[in-house]
């Protein structure tokens, strides 16, 4: 009887903790999976994202989601894994986007609480509004490119403000390098653009110019789905 009551109480508490609907998928292209409460489901427009859900994009996957509290938008490129956690702190809402691998772009419309993108190498905290984050778990490199406002990046306890138009490359060993936005090609980074939502497939080529610099060419393929 005692065990039964304990089980009943535990179940009541668990059922009372209703999963918190924190974001909604605006667009999903290609293969995109969502790991929600231990279940894996395919993602499509209108899929609800709950707290602590993990999003995985495959080879041709692409995802745009928008947060329900402040309409911040997160765009996730192919071959990325992102875990999203939201916690309420008094009147504000804090978001932590754990980037395990891949390339994301975050656009914060209204700053109502703390928003962070964390990787094992560094943590980028939003002071401004728009930035791109790329993490490669093989090398441990975490690149943050601010396109609007300022992002504070914490690399092994050192806090660096990354202003608009600048890039920081944080390394596994706790060091970092700063770059100008024009160096984006050198880092093998493809900037997000507003129209990218409309394309699922892109071909990217790297080539060396006459000075031996590596450059990237991106060709957008017409969506024929």
């Amino acid at each position: 009887m005692k065990y039964f009551l304990v089980i009943l109480l535990t179940m009541s508490i668990l059922s009372a903790q209703k999963a918190q609907f924190i974001a909604v998928v605006l667009k999903a292209k290609g293969e995109v999976e969502l790991n929600s409460n231990g279940k894996t489901i395919n993602v499509k427009r209108g899929t609800k994202i709950y707290n602590n859900d993990i999003v995985k994009t495959k080879d041709k996957g692409y995802l745009t989601l928008r947060f329900m509290d402040d309409k911040s938008t997160l765009r996730v490129r192919k071959n990325s894994i992102v875990k999203i956690n939201v916690s309420k702190e008094k009147s504000s809402v804090s978001k932590n986007i754990a980037l395990e691998v891949g390339d994301i772009f975050l656009s914060v419309v209204k700053k109502r609480g703390r928003t962070r993108v964390s990787t094992p190498t560094s943590v980028a905290s939003v002071k401004g509004t728009k930035f791109q984050s790329v993490f490669d778990p093989n090398t441990g490199d975490h690149i943050t490119y601010t396109t609007e406002g300022t992002v504070e990046v914490d690399v092994d306890g050192k806090k660096v403000d990354v202003e608009k138009g600048t890039i920081i490359l944080a390394k596994k060993d706790g060091t970092f390098e700063m770059f100008e936005g024009s160096d984006i090609g050198k880092l093998g980074l493809t900037p997000f653009d507003e129209e990218e939502d409309g394309e699922s497939d892109m071909l990217e080529f790297e080539y060396e110019d006459e000075n031996g610099n590596k450059k990237a060419v991106k060709i957008k393929l017409k969506d024929n789905e």
């Binding site: 427009r45 209108g46 309409k71």
Partner: protein, 771 residues
């Protein structure tokens, strides 16, 4: 002078409630509401006794400083109706008038005389019972353009108070109720299974309290943009409707029946958007102007804001420059090419007008007016910059039989205009200016005149100019040339709406724009509306200076000044109070006699109080309005108005009752006119009986009593007692598919003082399927 006197008198009596019961004289009746609620959808109806009206348009504005907007009215039986959105805040007066076309194709208006200046007026009353809460529009964002496949509605609700019954929330897209939206206390979401067509879509969320009263509304619009599809994709949406009438006229003892069928379709066929509409009526008579109307149009969008379009049938376009073309049915062909910045519109066709019959032998004769209109523009009506050149040429055709019948000569008119619109700082500052000119041949029966004949008449112009003019319009006599100039500056910022406007229209100006546009006048007006104390206090100042008969040496002048203060308290315990002062000065010049020239001044004061209160366990809203005016020209004319409106919501039943009473007394002791009106209406919302949150089902009953007395002319005395019953039912299926139906029965007993009484009755029905 007489006309100006009429205008003066009408303005002096502007507080009179224009119930427009012109028993027997006018085919139309309109009963206006003395007040309408801010943020509501208000239906305006034009009642027509008999089949006299072909089509009707509503012209309305809620801001005195703005131009009248136009909306086509929908035919329902003999009557016409249209619904308009009353703005949520900042406006206190709704002004409107009707323009309709009778069987002979002639435009008429209601009010009948000078409708622009004598428009119907309703007070916009703001209620204090709105329940506010925070929300975030997640998708689509305001004015966002999304791909058609990405269109969905998501709104995050942040702190919905318990008074709101979230299960009753309605999601509407483009006026269609969505039946399968996902609604919870935290969010509202609708992911359509259908693809919405390209263009702007209006989204509306209506929130209700536990009693079913609308307490908040979220409304915004966003655009959908299609993507090129592979293969043939076909979609079809639209509506099919049927309506009809049985009408019995007690005076003529005639009975009439008819049925109308209406179909509207739109959708996509591969990358092409199409629209098609048809209106077929059992009233159509080949001998008369066509009632049956049809129109088809295809649009191929090839980039954002870029498309090519072609259409045929009854085209009824309106150009940005409303001095040129405004919502006329031209049967013919239309095409448009929009290249983003450079755009072209072209329309060519005819308007058929039957000959006013006074000779049975010529029954069925008609004449046509052929019109060609074009607009070449840089930018468009939503862009920050727009420069347009518009043109229309109209010429009466096949008029041989109309010589005596029309009592009017066939005409030819060429009108061209240049307009410039600048919309700056997110449209908070707008600048509009335009110059239009018309060349009008009042009679095109005579043969064209030659250059030599012109010279013989002593007119000395270069022959090249004569040839050029002849290539535009056939010169048969010296044409009259008219001009219409306008300019306005609007600033809407710092809690201040300011507008200054100038217009000049000469009496010879002719166009296919609004047929009741004033002519032969200049107007300079200022309007300023300041919002203070967190939008609780509104100060309003307007000044209009008109000059009529501007071509004469001594034009008549009207100067009007209005000062208004309105207080909308945030505390619902206090009433909304509005005080207005109007001063109207007019100088009338008589060219034949200085003694007949005069100046008149009229001063008016108007007080309105509106209050929500609870009494006998019911919620009420009461509006009391009192106005008085006096004229100082020795005629001792006075006018007094008293209005009372009371809306009550019963608690025991979902019933809303509304009582309106108005009493006016106007004129001098020698010619006093008294009018009183009482109306009572009760609406019973039956949807709760159906245990459905989305089905709408209501019934209503209305009683009216109107009495008019004149101390001099008793033939004008009459009384009317009206009774009306109606029901409407809306059943939503899936997505936007909806079935709407409506039944209405009205009976009016009219008792003229000097003749025997009679009763008119009318029964109308309508059934509509939207998909």
């Amino acid at each position: 002078l007489q006309a100006s006197e009429g205008v003066t008198m009408r303005f002096f009596l502007f507080l009179l409630i224009t119930i427009s019961l012109n028993a027997g004289n006018e085919p139309t009746q309109h009963q206006r509401s003395i007040f309408v609620y801010a943020g509501s959808v208000h239906e305006i109806q034009l009642n027509v006794d008999g089949n006299y009206v072909h089509s009707a348009q509503l012209y309305y504005r809620t801001n005195q400083a703005d131009d009248f907007k136009t909306m086509k009215m929908e035919k329902n039986g003999f009557d016409y109706s249209v619904s308009i959105d009353i703005p949520d805040q900042n406006y206190t007066k709704l002004e409107y008038y009707f323009v309709y076309y009778d069987n002979s194709g002639l435009p008429k208006s209601s009010p009948g005389m000078n409708p622009v200046m004598n428009a119907y007026k309703s007070n916009i009353v703001k209620r204090q019972q709105d329940i506010n809460f925070n929300y975030e529009i997640i998708s689509p964002l305001l004015n966002e353009t999304v791909d058609s496949e990405d269109f969905m509605v998501v709104v995050s609700l942040l702190d919905v108070p318990p008074q709101i019954d979230i299960a009753r929330t309605q999601v509407m897209i483009d006026g269609s109720l969505i039946s399968n939206a996902d609604i919870s206390v935290d969010y509202i979401m609708y992911v359509p299974q259908i693809e919405y067509r390209n263009g702007t879509h209006n989204i509306e969320l209506n929130f209700f309290d536990k009693d079913g009263e609308l307490v908040n509304k979220i409304e915004w619009s966003a655009a959908v943009q299609g993507k090129p599809e592979s293969g043939i994709v076909a979609t079809a949406y639209g509506r099919i409707s049927l309506n009809g009438l049985n009408d019995k006229n007690g005076l003529s003892e005639n009975t009439r029946n008819y049925t109308n069928a209406n179909a509207n379709f739109y959708g996509k066929l591969s990358a092409v958007d199409y629209t098609a509409r048809a209106f077929i009526s059992s009233q159509d008579d080949k001998l008369l102007q066509p009632i049956n109307r049809f129109h088809g149009r295809v649009t191929y969008p090839f980039a954002r804001d870029m498309f090519v379009r072609a259409g045929f049938g009854d085209v009824s376009n309106t150009f940005t420059n409303q001095f040129i073309l405004n919502n006329r049915n031209i049967r013919g062909f239309e095409t448009a090419l929009y290249l983003g910045f450079v755009n072209i519109d072209f329309i060519k066709g005819t308007t058929k007008k039957e000959i006013v019959l006074n000779n049975i032998a010529l029954l069925g004769n008609s004449y046509e007016r052929e019109s060609t209109a074009a607009r070449f523009s840089f930018g468009h009506s939503n862009s920050d910059f727009e420069l347009g050149l518009s043109y229309i040429k109209s010429e009466d055709q096949n008029f041989a039989n109309s010589i005596t019948l029309m009592n009017d000569d066939p005409k030819e008119t060429l009108t061209a205009g240049l307009d410039l619109n600048l919309r700056l700082m997110d449209k908070r500052i707008t600048l509009s200016a335009g110059a239009n000119a018309s060349v009008h041949q009042d009679n095109i029966r005579p043969d064209p005149i030659t250059y030599k004949q012109l010279e013989d008449q002593g007119i000395d112009i270069p022959e090249s100019i004569f040839d050029f003019a002849n290539s535009l319009i056939t010169i048969r006599s010296i044409p009259s040339i008219g001009q219409a100039l306008y300019g306005s500056f609007t600033m809407n910022m710092f809690s201040n709406y300011f507008k200054v406007k100038y217009e000049k229209v000469t009496s010879d100006f002719r166009t296919e724009g609004n047929p009741f546009m004033l002519s032969g006048y200049t107007l300079l007006s200022f309007y300023d509306n300041v919002r203070l104390v967190e939008n609780q206090l509104f100060l309003n100042l307007s000044y209009d200076s008109y000059k009529f008969n501007v071509e004469s040496d001594n034009p008549n002048e009207d100067n009007r000044l209005t000062l208004g203060v309105t207080y909308y308290p945030s505390n619902i315990d206090y009433p909304t109070v509005s005080v207005k002062y109007n001063s109207f000065n007019q100088s009338l010049t008589d060219t034949t006699s200085a003694a007949l020239s005069s100046t008149q001044a009229t001063n008016m004061v108007n007080l309105e109080v509106s209050k929500d209160f609870s009494l006998a366990d019911m919620m009420h809203n009461a509006v009391v309005n009192f106005g008085t005016s006096s004229k100082d020209a020795g005629s001792k004319d006075e006018s007094n108005l008293f209005q009372l409106g009371l809306q009550s919501e019963l608690n025991v039943l979902p019933v809303v009752t509304r009582i309106q009473f108005s009493s006016t007394k106007s004129g001098s002791e020698l010619n006093l006119e008294k009018s009183s009106e009482l109306s009572f209406r009760a609406n019973y919302d039956l949807k709760t009986l159906l245990e459905s949150t989305i089905t709408r089902f209501d019934v209503y009953a209305q009683f009216n009593s109107i009495k008019t007395e004149n101390t001099v002319n008793t033939i004008l005395d009459n009384s009317l007692t009206g009774l009306e019953f109606g029901t409407s039912f809306t059943y939503p299926f899936e997505n936007r598919t909806t079935l709407n139906s409506r039944l209405r029965f009205r009976t009016n007993s009219i008792k003229p003082e000097t003749s025997s009484s009679y009763t008119n009755s009318v029964f109308t029905y309508s059934l509509e399927y939207r998909f």
